[in-house]
C-alpha cells in the first residue's frame, strides 16, 4: 500500500512539475533564455487566481483568469525586459550571463511585490473537489479526487498544446521560429510576435502549475512558501532532464522527477526534501548532460 501511495503521489506531483517544465521549455525554444522568474510569474498568476476565487467564488472561473493573467504578464515581460536585454547587453563579458541575471532580478521583484501586496494575510485557495483520499476495501489511499482531477486536467492541457503545435499554423510558426529564426523570418513569419506568443503560452502553463501546486499542498499561498521554491527548482530540473528543447522531454522529465522525489522521501528520509532534486539533477547532468531527449551535440548555450 505504501508503494501504491508513493507512486500516485509521485505521479501527481510530477504532472505539476511537467507543466512547469513545459513553460521553461516554451520560453527556451522561443528566446533561448532560461527563465528563472518562471516560478515567480506562476506565483503572481496564482495570486490573480486567488483574487478571482474570492471575488467570483468558483475555482473553474479562477483557473482561466489565472492563465490569462499569467499569459499577459509573460507577454509583457518578453516585450519589455527581454527585448531591451537583447538590445543592450548582447556584447562584452556580461553577455553570457545577462539573461540569467535579469530573470533572477525579475524573480526578486515579483516576490517582493507579492509580499508587499498580499503578504501577512492568510491567503487560501480551496480546491474544487476534496483532497481526502479514496477508500478502497477499508484502507484509505493518499490519492484523492483532487489529485485525480489534477492529473486529468494536466493531461487534457498537454493534449491541447500538442494539437496546437502539430496541427495549426500557429504551432507551425512556433516550431519554425524555434528551429531557425532566420529562415522563419524569410518565409514571412513575424518572429518577434511568435516569441511573445511563446512566452504567453509559457505564462499560462505556469499559472496552472501554480494553482495546482497550491491546492495540492495545504492550500495556503505565500511568496516564500516551500511549494514555490520547489516549483522553481523542480521546473528547471525537469526541463533539464528532458533536454530543455523537447516538450515531450519536459513531460517525462517532470514525471521522472516527481516519482524519484516521492520514493526518496518515502524510503530514504523525508529530510532530503531539497537535496534530493539536486542530487537527481547532478546524476542526470553527469550521465547525459544533454538530457534524455536533448540533441546529441555538446551544448554551448
Amino acid at each position: 500500500m505504501d508503494f501504491l501511495n508513493t507512486l500516485l503521489i509521485g505521479i501527481t506531483a510530477g504532472s505539476i512539475y511537467s507543466l512547469m517544465a513545459i513553460s521553461m521549455v516554451l520560453v527556451w525554444r522561443s528566446t533561448r533564455v532560461v527563465n528563472f522568474a518562471q516560478a515567480g510569474m506562476a506565483l503572481l498568476s496564482t495570486y490573480f487566481g486567488f483574487e478571482a476565487v474570492t471575488k467570483l467564488g468558483s475555482f473553474w472561473i479562477a483557473l482561466p483568469v489565472a492563465m490569462l493573467g499569467g499569459a499577459l504578464v509573460a507577454a509583457l515581460v518578453e516585450m519589455i525586459l527581454i527585448r531591451l536585454l537583447v538590445k543592450h547587453s548582447s556584447s562584452g563579458p556580461i553577455a553570457g550571463v545577462a539573461p540569467i541575471i535579469a530573470t533572477l532580478g525579475l524573480l526578486g521583484v515579483i516576490r517582493a511585490s507579492a509580499s508587499m501586496i498580499w503578504g501577512g494575510q492568510d491567503v487560501r485557495i480551496v480546491g474544487p473537489v476534496s483532497n481526502d483520499g479514496f477508500t478502497i476495501n477499508g484502507t484509505t489511499l493518499v490519492f484523492s479526487p483532487l489529485k485525480l482531477l489534477i492529473l486529468v486536467t494536466v493531461l487534457v492541457l498537454m493534449l491541447i498544446l500538442s494539437l496546437v503545435f502539430q496541427k495549426t499554423n500557429i504551432g507551425l510558426a512556433l516550431r519554425a521560429s524555434a528551429y531557425s529564426p532566420e529562415i522563419a523570418r524569410l518565409s514571412g513569419i513575424k518572429v518577434d510576435w511568435v516569441r511573445t506568443l511563446g512566452w504567453a503560452l509559457a505564462g499560462a502553463a505556469g499559472a496552472v502549475a501554480g494553482m495546482f501546486q497550491t491546492v495540492n499542498g495545504n492550500g495556503t499561498l505565500s511568496p516564500d512558501s516551500i511549494e514555490f521554491s520547489l516549483l522553481l527548482v523542480s521546473g528547471f530540473i525537469a526541463a533539464v532532464i528532458g533536454g530543455l528543447d523537447s516538450l515531450i522531454g519536459a513531460v517525462i522529465g517532470g514525471l521522472v522527477l516527481g516519482l524519484m522525489i516521492s520514493f526518496v522521501l518515502m524510503y530514504i528520509s523525508s529530510g532530503l526534501f531539497f537535496i534530493a532534486p539536486f542530487v537527481i539533477l547532478l546524476l542526470v547532468l553527469f550521465i547525459r548532460p544533454q538530457g534524455i531527449f536533448g540533441a546529441k551535440a555538446a551544448r554551448r548555450a
Binding site: 532580478g105 526578486g108 539536486f278 547532468l285 548532460p289 551544448r299
Partner: protein
Amino acid sequence: MHKKQSRDLLLFILGGVVLYFLSGMVDELRVYQGASIAVYVIAISSIILLTGYSGQVSLGHGALMAVGAYAAAVARIELQAPIILCFVIAVLAAAIGGALLGAAAARLSGPYLAGTTLALAIGLPSLANQFSVLGGEQGLLFDVGFPPLSLGEEFTQYKWFFWIAALAALISMWAVKNILSSRYGRTWRAIRGNEVAAQLSGINIARSKILAFTISAGIAGLAGALLSMTIGTVSPSAFPLALSFSLLTGAVLSGITTLGGAMIGAVVLVAIPEVADAVANRIGSSERVTTNLPGFLVSALLILTVLFVPNGPVEQHRARKAKKKNYLS
C-alpha cells in the same frame, strides 16, 4: 611588472592605515556597517573572479559561504581552535566544496550551471538541520572572543570585528588581484573569450574552470565565516537564497570585471536596507512594505544595471572615454 606589484602592495598598506584611523573616528553603528562592507567586498570579489573572469555563473555562493561559516564554528566549538585557524579552516572547507561543485560545473555552461548552483543554494542550508553537530534551526554560536586587552579599555567588540574583517578584506583583495593578473587570470579570460580557441592554444579547460571555482569558493568561505562572526551565530536562515542574489547584484553593480569596483557594490548592498527604511518612513507605509522594500530595491537595481550599465559603471566610463578619444584623434 615587479615595480607595479610593489606599488600595489604599498597602496593596500596605505588603505589599511586609512581604515585604521577612520575606525577610531566614527560611531558604533558605522563601525559595524564598515565590517559588513568588508565582508561583502570579499564575497563580491569571489563572484567577480568566478563570473567576470572565468565566465561561470554561480547562484550558490550563499551556500558556499554557509560551508565556510559552519566549518569555522565547528572548529571553534569542537576543537577550541584559535581564531586565525578557524578562518583558515573555513577557507579550506569551502574550497573543497567548491572543487566538488567545480568538477560538476566544468561540464556545464550558462543556464545549466546557474540552475544547478541555484538548486544547491536552496538545498544546502536545509541540510544543516539533518546533523545535530550543526545545531539544527538554531545553529551554532560563533564567538571570536573579546578584543585583546593590549588594545585598551575603550576598544569595542564591533571595532574588533571591523579590524578583523577589514584586514581579511585587504589581504584577500590583494591576493585576488595578483591571481587575476597571473597566468591563471589570463587563462580564464581566454576561456571566457572563446572556449574553442583557448583549447586549441593548449589550455586545459576543465582544469582551469575547476581551479577558478575552488579559489572563488575558498574566498566565499572566508566571507561566510566573517559574516557569522559579525552576527555571532551560524544558522541556516543566515544564508538564504536572497544572499546569493545580493552578491550577484553587488558584483554586477561593481562591474563584473572590475575588481576595484567591489567597494561600490558592497557599499550599495549595506546602504540599501537603510535607504529602504528611510523611504518607508517617509511615505509612512505598513510593516509588510517596510520588510520587503530592501529585497525589491536589490532586485530592481539588478535588472536596471543589467539593462543599462551591463558592464558596470567603471567600465562604462572607461568605454565612453575611449570612444571620445577615438573621435577626437
